[in-house]
């Protein structure tokens, strides 16, 4: 039982760092630019598809990675230049709608190019086995790789934001946008850099997640809602909050999905227990968000 518990906790951490890769970009975009970007999940999907395509053409997982990053970043920069730039000074409603329209278009464009069938990708060579972490606990190396990449990105972001000039501007922008502009900083450029970085991380998350689930249309929306929950729970604009919230929610969600049906089987028939368990487990993160917002209406690590 405890082996199973550790294994699921690791799965939770792996899901959590994937959420963090997405949430970091989203929270910066919202905190600094004041834009709600529903299309962030589409960038995740674009990264997954572009990388998967390149990997299939070249036969190498690692050659797919730069393609995934580049595709997501280019798509992100295009979206920023063509759409988001016009939305900076609009209210949230216009932003929600315009980016909702982008989701519709991105999904359909992917269907036109790749069809509706989910595509299953193979694990990269060298990471297709598992390692013996504890006696009786063999854990897939690829999932460990994702955890390592996620933690490395988190550390890199921390350095970038706390130790570099760009990071200083990002922090300043999140605190007071108008003051940064008044001090003569080219805020337009900063916006573009932040958006591009967020898109890059989304593409990375999408490509890494590909071999674990399936690459399919709608994969972006599934994880987008969870990502928004992470951003809101963590406190909009806070990378640290996004990291903590992503890990908590990733573990909670995975644990509920893994163990709730089993627990419910004690009191009802297996078929009913499975469906009810999955249903309630899916509600878990939303319930957690509602609770957090009721206690701290601006999230756990809200800045001002």
């Amino acid at each position: 039982m405890s082996i199973l518990l550790i294994e699921q906790a690791l799965n939770g951490v792996q899901y959590g760092v994937t959420l963090f890769l997405l949430a970091a970009g989203l929270t910066l975009i919202f905190g600094i630019m004041g834009v709600i970007n529903l299309a962030h999940g589409s960038l995740y999907m674009i990264g997954a598809y572009a990388g998967m395509y390149a990997a299939a053409e070249t036969g190498s997982f690692w050659l797919g990675l730069p393609v995934a990053l580049a595709a997501a970043a280019v798509a992100g920069l295009a979206v920023e230049a063509l759409v988001i730039r016009r939305l900076y000074n609009r209210d949230h409603l216009d932003q929600v709608l315009a980016t909702f329209a982008l989701i519709l278009m991105a999904n359909q464009a992917i269907i036109l190019m790749f069809g509706r069938q989910p595509i299953f990708t193979r694990l990269p060579a060298g990471f297709d086995g598992s390692v013996q972490l504890l006696p009786g606990l063999a854990y897939p190396t690829y999932r460990l790789l994702i955890i390592a990449v996620g933690l490395a990105v988190a550390a890199g972001l921390w350095l970038l934001i706390n130790r570099t000039r760009v990071g200083m501007l990002v922090r300043a922008g999140a605190t007071n946008r108008d003051m940064v502009r008044a001090l003569g900083v080219d805020i337009r450029l900063l916006y573009t850099v932040v958006f591009g970085l967020g898109a890059l991380l989304a593409g990375l998350a999408g490509y890494m997640a590909g071999p674990i689930g399936a690459v399919q249309v709608g994969m972006g929306e599934q994880i987008l809602l969870a990502t928004f929950v992470v951003v809101v729970v963590g406190g909009v604009g806070s990378i640290r909050g996004a990291f903590v919230a992503a890990l908590i929610l990733g573990v909670v969600d995975t644990m509920l999905r893994a163990f709730l049906p089993t627990l419910l089987r004690q009191v009802m028939t297996p078929a009913e227990a499975d469906q009810l368990g999955i249903g309630i487990a899916s509600m878990g993160i939303y319930l957690l968000m509602a609770l957090v917002l009721l206690i701290r209406p601006r999230g756990l690590f809200a800045t001002a």
């Binding site: 919202f30 929600v96 329209a101 982008l102 359909q108 469906q275 249903g279 917002l293």
Partner: protein, 322 residues
Amino acid sequence: MRAVILILAAAALLALPFAAQAAGQPALITLATRIAVYAIAAASLNFILGYGGMVSFGHAAFFGLGAYTVGVMFHHAGAGPMFGLIPGTTHLLVTIPLALAVSGLAAAAIGALSLRTGGVQFIMITLAFAQMLFFLFVSLTTYGGEDGLIIRRPNEFLGLNLRDRVTMYYVALGFAAAFFLILWRIVHSSFGAVIQGIRQNERRMAALGYAPYRYKLAAFVLSGMGCGLAGALMANVLRFTSPDLMHWTKSGELIVMVILGGLGSFFGPVFGAAAFLILETYLAGWSEHWPLALGAILLVIVLFTRGGVAGLIARIGGALQR
């Protein structure tokens, strides 16, 4: 002038089934019925969104609850009482008030919690509650789970046959007319004025002695009830209800209808629902990739127009008067 337009519009709506049949397009009647029902839902959302400035991204929850009230009551009319206590029913005169009560109670609970936040947190928390209800109904195997509930017979209502699409159209039209009459009274009451005042400046309204939270909550509940009514009617039109009715994209579609019609304009949601459903129907008939075109149209509208269809009509009207 306004009275003339209203009478002409009413005459056109009453004559629509005959015109559709004469033109050999009976499918238009069902489309018009769906427009009438979605107009109710969109106008309910517009009441808090356009007049009240509350961006709810979870109104499909109340729409779905209304539909499930009809579906669940039908189910129990055949399968025995709910929890062995509450008997099922197939009478519209019972299911509609019940749908209003269920959606109203849900809106009171969700609104009471959500309205403690604001801005982006409000958008997300309403979305969260709607998702919770969505997953709840997905997991309820008794009521069909993911596949939904088929309602074999529509509700009984004054001896009318609601399976007949012309009859259903007139019933939906009647409910819509009554709904818009009541909404007109609410929007133009002092309560409506307070709600609009809160959108413009909440702090000032508080300083004037109105408790914004209570007014916003009352508006949220009314708005949820309107969506519940629309959902109950939709269950009778479709003779089917499923968790898809409360999916978050449905909430998005309702917002799209409000924006298409023109935020905070009284009849805007009618035009918005009509524009959205007509676009959807004809684009879907034209190509399976219709969301691409819909997305593009939506994007252009958001980026380059203000005030939606109603704004456009007002602008054309203004140009004509000049």
